[in-house]
Symmetry: C2
Subunit: 364 residues, 2 copies
Amino acid sequence: MNTLHVELAERRYPIHIGPGLLSQPQLLEPLRGRPLFVITDEHVKPLYLERLCASLGSDPARALALAPGETAKTLANVNEVMGLLLRARLPRDGVLVALGGGVIGDLVGFCAAIYQRGIDFVQVPTTLLAQVDSSVGGKTGVNHELGKNMIGAFHQPQLVLADTDTLKTLPRRELLAGLAEVIKYGMLGDLQFLNWIEENLDALLKLDGEALSYAIRRSCEMKAAIVAQDERETVSGGAGPRATLNLGHTFAHAIETYTRYTEWLHGEAVATGLCMAADLSARLGWMAQADAQRCIALIARAGLPVKPPAGLDAAQFRNLMGLDKKNVSGRLRLVLMKPLGQSLVSSNFDQAALDACFTHFTSA
Amino acid sequence: MNTLHVELAERRYPIHIGPGLLSQPQLLEPLRGRPLFVITDEHVKPLYLERLCASLGSDPARALALAPGETAKTLANVNEVMGLLLRARLPRDGVLVALGGGVIGDLVGFCAAIYQRGIDFVQVPTTLLAQVDSSVGGKTGVNHELGKNMIGAFHQPQLVLADTDTLKTLPRRELLAGLAEVIKYGMLGDLQFLNWIEENLDALLKLDGEALSYAIRRSCEMKAAIVAQDERETVSGGAGPRATLNLGHTFAHAIETYTRYTEWLHGEAVATGLCMAADLSARLGWMAQADAQRCIALIARAGLPVKPPAGLDAAQFRNLMGLDKKNVSGRLRLVLMKPLGQSLVSSNFDQAALDACFTHFTSA
């Protein structure tokens, strides 16, 4: 088992990573005797709820399973959870436990952030994406019909338990989507880690526990280091260190909006977004053309999409990216690389290169 | 004009207090050029929206007026506001302005706390209660059908503008309800201020600008000093300094729940709650009987209720107070005085005295 301690301004919390952790009650010792409530989804419930409750020493009846999927992230569901917690009389010193993927983590974290103005919560992520991404950074929230993650709060967990064995029941597509975020960390800040991923891709794809634990730990560690410099994404008006975590994401959001957040998984859209960010960085002369090709080849080898969906043309891309919330008062800002392994946030780049990138990726 | 600076852990913000401030654009200078959206209610809109927008230099069309009253504080309204802000494309560096009483302040502050994970907001309170109470402390939120203020966040304003002239259009009952909170500050922490209120009650009731400004300033100052010790009500598990601001409130919540939050104003319930807290403190021998009588006489002279509603009996009181969220894991905790002018939080008091207090206040 690996344990990473995330250092926040006023406290620290542990992320435990490894196989079989759900069956190790001693890791949940800090919660012993506290009033708990577990929220999960209907896919995860039959797989892991009982085991988690046994380790927590809590009543499996004090749990809610929501319908699975991104559509669960609504204020209406938040209201339902609030009612449930009030009926269960969860006090202000109670703890919410999120058992599931990123959707559950985001929703439950947000519920914990606003229930009685904030209670403690614990993350038990069961997807690779949630294990590498939502365990660190404190971003929680739900969607609005007019935009994804437009409603939310920063709220840090007390503890994260990432059991890599849960990835064995994860659909293959979701595993790969999580790998896209792992590759992102290599591309944005650690060339050595990118090399390691290239060398260990087969082990990762075979769910080798040791390889997974290292990939998750290194991703969380990098994210924690970046988040520590910019806990609320406020440094440089949102163009600071934390924004670099959005490498590929502005392109990805355009793809997700175009496909109405239904056909593509977030990580799949990020995979293509990473290809586009690499291509644009190379077009700008900020990284070698060969390095862009190398990233795209790795993403393709991981079984992830390297092209936007058919039908999304350059003009639509431009329009969809104009709506992105990363625009401050109207200027389009992108996370790019200069060179590979070093990311930067820029709104000062050649628009023609961006257009060429759109055209390249949207032509058949 | 009085300006009080509230010192927070990481920044400070000004509260400007005095007559005619809505017509002084220079006070709103820090907002110049930033994208704004104003939220108010239908009562306040025709009275002050145009004047505020002129001082802000903002378009009065970028405003929303909600139906007035406590029933506006719902997650459904939050969702509506979110939609409006997204359609108006308010960016993350935009500012929400709350123009109205406590309901608008709580709702708008919460919307600012969770819109795109938190944007800046400004309070322009137009009731005495909002001017003395919600300007300081950062508590924002909405109600759930199962409990008042059960959904919320801590979110501090950038600036507060308390124009005492707005109290001239305030219904008399609401003015008095605000006075109850002013009296609370004297009782909980400043005997000299309590003396001052006794001496200046007539001036306050006549809306004398100087007297009002002093009373508001002193209340905000006391609240700010208390909040600074305990920004998130977490010290001593919620029994720390900040909890003393709830003097009278546990009794008040029982009255409000009994009357379904419709017949009594919050400040009216607090007035009676203050009388009961004083009575109980005297019964416990923690303050002089004469001091309790003095408080009750002042509250009566201010035209505020000193008895709970007819029909609410001692047994119901006990039951209603058992539901109060200030109970940590099941123990009833009250804010009391020992002696008058010094508050404390205690769950260690003679239950028979509490019963005698209930009986005394609920007998005809």
